[in-house]
Symmetry: C2
Subunit: 240 residues, 2 copies
């Protein structure tokens, strides 16, 4: 029988160096809203997404002629074409296009994970596609929660817990990692009434005041899109 691969959950970009593993598939998770939006963009037919770390680099790619989606702290950058809501990535705007994309938390995490086997963009919306990929390309898995400006956040953690639980259910993965066990436990607390649980986290958060209710609903809907965004050589493409 093939050896089980291990799952680890990293709760903050500031802790990622503990988990760095060039043989692992890393799933970057930023439920509100970067990774949900990236999935939405590919579902709407975007061809490529270029994640951009700093505001300065965002300006450069805009000046170079790319469509730019960019925000900081939930506010659209004034020189960007639009911000970070998944609803911005409409087929009219993005189909067949290359989009440059910069956000407070998510795109920074993607940059940090660059020395991994594969970097996958994960969200509730593409949960099953993620799990299929991780089962097929069987390697250790790091579920990398983008958090909020370096802090732990609930929505990314329970999404990590949902992925971890599905992976363990395949029989091909196991965990000895405390944060993975915590994420799974939190997911099981949240699961019976996910909307209500997220509300507890989301509505008390500074940024969350700016997220419309329908965006929250969109971001916590499991398996609404069939995409698997993969970051390689500086660019995110959909490999399904």
């Amino acid at each position: 029988m093939e050896e089980k691969k291990k799952i680890e959950v990293c709760f903050s970009p500031l802790l990622f160096h503990f988990y760095q593993n060039t043989n692992a598939n890393v799933v970057v998770i930023d439920v509100f809203r970067a990774t949900s939006s990236i999935c939405a963009a590919f579902a709407a037919g975007a061809e490529k997404i270029i994640p951009v770390g700093t505001v300065e680099d965002a300006r450069k790619v805009k000046d170079a002629g790319f469509i730019l989606a960019a925000e900081r702290d939930g506010i659209v950058l004034d020189f960007a074409d639009f911000g970070n809501s998944p609803f911005n990535f409409t087929p009219e705007r993005v189909r067949g296009k290359t989009i440059a994309y910069s956000t407070t938390n998510g795109t920074q995490a993607i940059q940090l994970a660059k020395d991994s086997k594969n970097i996958i963009i994960g969200a509730f919306t593409n949960l099953s596609e993620l799990v299929k990929f991780l089962e097929k390309v069987h390697a250790d898995v790091i579920l990398f929660c983008s958090g909020w400006k370096g802090r732990f956040n609930l929505e990314d953690s329970i999404c990590a817990g949902a992925i971890a639980q599905k992976l363990i259910e395949t029989g091909k993965f196991s965990t000895i990692c405390d944060s993975t066990n915590a994420a799974i436990d939190l997911w099981n607390v949240a699961k019976p009434d996910l909307r209500n649980y997220i509300e507890k986290a989301a509505h008390r958060h500074r940024l969350r005041k700016m997220i419309l209710d329908d965006v929250i609903d969109y971001c916590i809907t499991i398996d609404s899109v069939k995409v698997l965004p993969l970051f390689k050589d500086g660019v995110i493409v959909n490999i399904i």
Copy 2:
């Protein structure tokens, strides 16, 4: 009505700078085993404990004639008098004495928290005394989990959750902090069978192989000692 004070939980020393608040009471938690052992030492009649950060400093205080309790990665330092089990701090060894104490995680966290209003040593074993103090000296509270070498760990997190829940039940505290909500949820998952829950974390951990079962039982026994160790001016004393 007096304003409610806020509770925050910090899951790792690497994240502590986000929470730094000179007006807050900080509770340093290292269930396995530093803070449980410090409480045990005072319960056994120790007069003072000097937390020591580095191995080099531990050697210096030993050379200066202090009794030294010191370990790294669960191993007693060869020049120390004894290690980090709460059972080492017997009345015969510690009554009326000043002990220098250095461990992998806990004593480092104490040093990091030094610019706070009060630094309290917290464990399951002195839970109610902690809560009494925090209710009386009514200020914001930071529950600082020592973690394992910078990583999140379950036992410190659920202890933080237990404290947070008790504080909220007093009606004098509230939280908008995701990690506090997570800690409380994890505590409620763990509470019905704490021993079994801790087993899941503890027994899979490298260090945990070296912790005898009776030490685990000791460290998760709520309110077994009536002590409230407070760190001030480089020294920990029991203020009850």
